[in-house]
Amino acid sequence: MLLLAAAAWAQPITLRMETRSVGRMEIVVMPFRAAKDSAFAGELPRLLREVVTGDLAYSGYFNVLDPEDLPPDTLLQVKRVGNKWDTLRTFSGSTAARVQGSVTVAWDGVTASIAIFQPPIKDAIHLKDFRFKSDDLRAAGHEIAAWITKMVTGEEGGFASRIVFVVKTGDSKNLWMMDWDGANPRSLTQDKTLNLSPSWAPDGKTIYFTSFRAGNADIYKYNLETGHIAPFISTPRVDSAPSVSADGQWIAYSSSGDGNPEIYRIRADGTGRTQLTVSYGVDTSPSWSPTGHDLVFTSDRGGTPQIYRMDMDGASVVRLTFAGNYNETARWSPRGDLIAFASREIGFQIFTMAPDGSHERRVTGEGSNFDPSWSPDGMKLVYTSQAGGKSAIWTCNWDGSNARQLTFGLHASQPQWGPAVALTDHDH
């Protein structure tokens, strides 16, 4: 299974789509227990396992099985011996791994020793200690789930990532951030103005966004470490819709500095400004391909807003959408294989298509759903939904399954999924 996944990852874009149709792997997460030499661990092992299994189940890669849930014929060798679960020796065909966790609580923090077994190999194939303060249990759980996913599938799960989004209060809009699962929502800006269209730099420390703080739409940079906000693009006209390339080198954006909204790109250091589109209509909402060679964007040059693709010099322009008369906010998947966009009939619905415009596929169903953004591994989408009347942030798998509401009680929109936070030490 591990080899298969790794081989698929190395294939070119067109074949990579196949990895999306591979069924979910079954993974068994045994109850985490307190280590023998641990101080009183209380509910900590159970709570930690809950975060881990929640992430794994929601990742789109796994079916998470409790030992109790397994049909007896698939796991004949699992049996309770006293208070312990005996070693798992027989797996059903699709079962990929079994996870065990042992938690040690000490005066200076918690250590969770996580082991991954892939029978028939008897010994753990991956083993890692995670040290954290008990207050950071959720973050530690996300990190453990990301590590398990990486070890078993080779994929960077999005569990340690964050989502930035926009919250409307009265006439003001401010940037907020939350963990990938909707936990810890908090505001980044608290202005009596409009802050819109956030876009992450790949370092996970900088967010570019559109703001009216100087009276009209300009582009600013938010430094997450210092909270400092600096102007980036500022003309007397509209400067908006920033999109950072995967290598962080270029920022594409829309500006009507020359009298008409066109797409430009500029280096992160403010040099190399290049105009990419020249058309009479509106050109906006650029999004980079993961290689940085191409961009998709919205243009109404053909009479209605449609999705177009061009190379990074503005050449080789191709119209991608033809169905419907209103297609907007295209976002290129980090895997390169799909482009998500919002298409309007009565309300909006989110669709995906291949980079050549083929294989259009509807992802969302009820209500109005728009502002799609990909998870760092390209397996999930986060988006704005008005399914419940009020505008809220939702997420679902790339194929629309597993839809889940992430924000509650906030008028939220324009989510952007941040980069996966790099794991420092992958294995022992």
Binding site: V238, V282, P305
Partner: protein
């Protein structure tokens, strides 16, 4: 002695006050002349500056400005369009007349959209509407240097409704004169 001084100081002070008043009203009158002379200056401007009615003239001018400011009309657009509709050209003419009269007004043109469409697209569309209104005013003889544009996209609805009646009111360019 004391009486003597005040005797010829008083007329001097009176002359100074009148001169100051004339100078002040003169200044106010000159400011608009920096640009093209208005074709139909309002009557207020023609009132001769009499020393005792200076405050009165300023008040009347202010009242005329306020009245004209209240007469400024909004221009409306078709769905997903940014060209000035035939039925909206009279509104541009009305506004252009007002703006010609008050040549010292800087004018901000605010482009807006209905709530349909995305935030980013509507920001760009609102900008095109503001620019279209600006072009029309320039064509009607208003100095482009007086006109600035801003787009609020779908963020500043005039009507909070969610139907065509509300949307039609929200697809607009508004003019703010300071």
């Amino acid at each position: 002695m004391q009486r003597n001084v005040s005797h010829y100081l008083l007329p001097l002070i009176a002359v100074l006050v009148i001169a100051l008043a004339v100078a002040l009203t003169g200044c106010k009158k000159k400011m608009p002349k920096e640009e093209a002379p208005p074709p139909a200056p309002p009557k207020v401007e023609e009132v001769a500056p009499a020393p005792d009615t200076t405050g009165q003239a300023a008040r009347e001018r202010q009242a005329a400005m306020d009245a004209d400011r209240a007469r400024i009309v909004t221009v409306y657009f078709d769905y997903d369009k940014s060209d000035i509709r035939a039925d909206q050209r009279d509104r541009i003419t009305t506004d252009a007349e007002i703006f010609r009269r008050w040549t010292d007004w800087p004018i901000s043109i605010e482009g807006n959209c209905d709530e349909r469409g995305t935030v980013e697209y509507n920001l760009a569309l609102g900008e095109r509407r503001a620019l279209a209104a600006k072009q029309a005013l320039v064509a009607a003889g208003i100095d482009g240097a007086r006109l600035s544009t801003v787009s609020y996209g779908e963020e500043r609805a005039a009507d909070p409704g969610h139907d065509e009646t509300a949307w039609a009111k929200n697809r607009r360019a508004e003019f703010r004169a300071r």
